[in-house]
């Protein structure tokens, strides 16, 4: 057991999998010799050498295309998209190529690879380098989508992603890289499609993802302390597959659902879950389902405006307490 940063957990996760399986290779921009712009790949080039850890040109389509071609013929590549916003310059591979391969070929070919990418806001990089694009990827059939909130989840879910036989997009949150958490020694392998109840509660269910998880936890503490509301907090962790059992089970107990989403409002990931719950758990509900999201706007660069945009503990507490008591 040791304390590890989210950033170092990424390094450990990649190297755990690369040590285990020689077919795991890693490519991306500035990931090898320089150790990545977020320093989340430092040391991999030194450990695994220039054949397994490769710097690429600024060619996201070639990066993802190469990963896909290698995956469908025998390797298990990891490709880095430096910022998740850049998914837009290679979206053909994410939306049209990788996730449809198994289906279009009637199962003749599969695409076992992981795209890892720096997602989310909080670093004052402005509209084109701060987006939360988990919803862009959740909507694509055939793709799996993961977004860990803690160092230990980074390692376990990343290992599961690399071992999965499908294309998996792994959203690392830029604003979490410096955060720390306890991580057990030895190999860690988790399971995709499993949400985690981080805080049991009986009055309402709060779903959160990535950076929103610590904020939801903080809010739950305040809700308990100051408003007498006992919230259950669930870290969704994996959008596809989606652990609807854990979510529906929680709503069945609490009767109330809130989502805390960093992605902008329209078709944020919580919309899907809200629609599932409004269908399948309608009779369990004791009141409206409420989504707390970033407003439907591009993100501003200015620190005070960016802080205003993202849900934070105060806003979560305010919204939930007013809805629950109103």
């Amino acid at each position: 057991m040791a304390e590890l940063s989210y950033r170092d957990a990424v390094i450990r996760a990649i190297s755990q999998e690369m040590r285990r399986d020689n077919n795991v290779v890693f490519l991306g921009e500035d990931v090898a010799k320089a150790g990545g712009v977020f320093k989340a790949t430092v040391g991999l080039y030194e450990e695994f050498g220039p054949l397994r850890v490769r710097d690429t040109p600024i060619s996201e389509q070639a990066i993802l295309g190469a990963a896909m071609g290698a995956a469908m013929t025998g390797l298990r590549p990891i490709a880095e998209l430096m910022f998740s916003d850049f998914a837009a310059v290679c979206f053909d591979f994410i939306a049209n190529e990788m996730p449809k391969l198994a289906y279009m070929t009637n199962g003749q070919l599969t695409c076992p690879l992981v795209i890892r990418t720096g997602n989310g806001a909080g670093v004052r990089f402005g509209a084109q380098h701060s987006q939360s694009i988990e919803n862009w990827t959740m909507m694509i059939p055939g793709l799996k989508v993961v977004a860990p909130s803690s160092p230990v989840d980074v390692i376990g879910l990343f290992a599961a992603a690399v071992r999965d036989n499908n294309p998996v997009i792994f959203h690392e949150h830029k604003a979490l890289y410096a955060t720390k958490g306890e991580v057990p020694d030895g190999e860690i392998v988790d399971t995709l499609g499993t949400a985690k109840i981080l805080r049991p509660g009986k009055d309402c269910t709060i779903l959160a993802l990535a950076l929103m998880v610590p904020r939801a936890m903080e809010a739950a503490d305040i809700l308990a302390r100051e408003h007498g509301i006992d919230a259950e907090v669930i870290d969704v962790r994996s959008l596809v597959p989606l652990d609807t059992q854990t979510i529906l089970g929680s709503v069945a107990r609490t009767g109330r659902l809130f989502t805390v989403e960093e992605n902008p409002r329209l078709l944020g990931w919580g919309a899907e879950i809200a629609s599932i719950v409004a269908d399948e758990a309608f009779w369990d509900l004791d009141g409206p389902i409420v989504r707390i999201t970033t407003p439907h706007i591009p993100l501003p660069a200015a620190d005070h405006l960016e802080d205003l945009a993202l849900p934070n503990a105060a806003r979560i507490v305010d919204r939930i307490s007013r809805v629950m008591n109103g």
Partner: protein, 336 residues
């Protein structure tokens, strides 16, 4: 343009020539049949024929070895057949039947036969050039000796993915051969109207540090020689090649397109240079008898006929297939 060597010093040989012809005629017959079936409304959706372009598929197909990988486009029936995929599987897929290569799930634009090295047909322009890089990277990384060959059209040279793939393959020295079939049109627009250079691939090879290779795509011998050389270079670690083959499609872009955008006389001039016609003459020059040629023709006709009969009799895939193979475990569950 590669020129013919003398008969005395023939570098291609009888058997290979027979095969080059056999493939061309099989593709021709299968494509003509596909056109008929389309007109009979037995092919739904779309179809893109390579009538007139057979020499490229055959020349490369014969030069490739078992284990080599093919990546092609929606205009990929020819390249799929050229790797030995059965006519029935191809026509069955075009007819969206259960006996199709992908049991009707992919359709004519996505022909795939992994067991024959056909790693898919891609319908969004450009992507598969990048994907082909990955296949070649895998071979390089694992020390496997197969070569990846990637076919695409002239119009494809103007999309960003072309550029990224060529640079990427060049700097990593990947064992991949990029084959541009310049048939003078991107759909209905003449390639010259939308391209800054005359030869969309060859005139750009230098931008990737590659030699300029421009060949007669209607002469299967010329294609075969170039293919043999480029593939050998790739296999020996010499890196990628970019080959531009000048050719022409006799039919329209897709389906029943009558090709009205072509200037009068253009098709006729190219029919003079029909690859099948050229190659029949070639066979005769190299001592094939009419009976030998007829035998190949007859065998091809028989195959296509049999395949057609089988396809017409074939059922559609069962409804369960709708949700099969979304994920690698064979299923489609996105939730528990």
């Amino acid at each position: 343009m590669a020129s013919l060597q003398s008969k005395e010093n023939d570098d291609i040989g009888h058997e290979t020539r027979r095969e080059l012809y056999r493939l061309q005629i099989e593709i021709r017959d299968a494509e003509k049949r596909a056109y008929d079936l389309f007109l009979q409304n037995l092919i739904k959706g779309t179809s893109h024929l390579s009538l007139g372009q057979e020499a490229v598929a055959a020349g490369f197909g014969v030069a490739m070895k078992t284990g080599d990988k093919t990546f092609c486009t929606y205009r990929g029936h020819a390249h799929t057949l050229a790797r030995g995929a059965p006519v029935e599987g191809v026509l069955g897929e075009l007819m969206l039947r259960d006996n199709g290569l992908m049991r009707g799930k992919g359709g004519s634009m996505h022909l795939t036969s992994a067991e024959h090295g056909v790693m898919g047909s891609y319908a969004i322009i450009g992507a598969h050039l990048c994907i082909a890089c990955g296949s070649a990277w895998r071979a390089q990384y694992l020390g496997e000796k197969d070569v990846t060959v990637c076919f695409f059209g002239d119009g494809t040279t103007n999309i960003g993915a072309f550029h990224e793939a060529l640079n990427f393959a060049a700097i990593w020295k990947l064992p991949v051969v990029f084959v541009c079939e310049n048939n003078l049109y991107m759909e209905y627009t003449p390639i010259g109207d939308v391209t800054a250079v005359q030869h969309p691939a060859a005139d750009r090879a230098a931008a990737y540090g590659l030699p300029r290779i421009l060949i007669d795509g209607n002469d299967a011998d010329a294609v075969f020689r170039t293919a043999r050389e480029a593939i050998a270079k790739a296999r020996d670690g010499g890196g990628p090649s970019l080959v531009e083959c000048l050719t022409y499609r006799h039919s329209g872009h897709s389906r029943a397109d009558p090709g009205k955008y072509r200037p009068p006389g253009e098709l006729e001039r190219w029919l003079e240079r029909d690859p099948i016609k050229i190659y029949r003459q070639r066979l005769q020059e190299f001592g094939f008898t009419q009976e030998q040629i007829d035998a190949v023709d007859a065998e091809s006709k028989r195959k296509v006929e049999e395949a057609t009969t089988a396809c017409k009799a074939a059922p559609q895939a069962p409804p369960e297939l709708l949700t099969a193979d979304v994920y690698a475990d064979g299923g489609w569950a996105w939730r528990n």
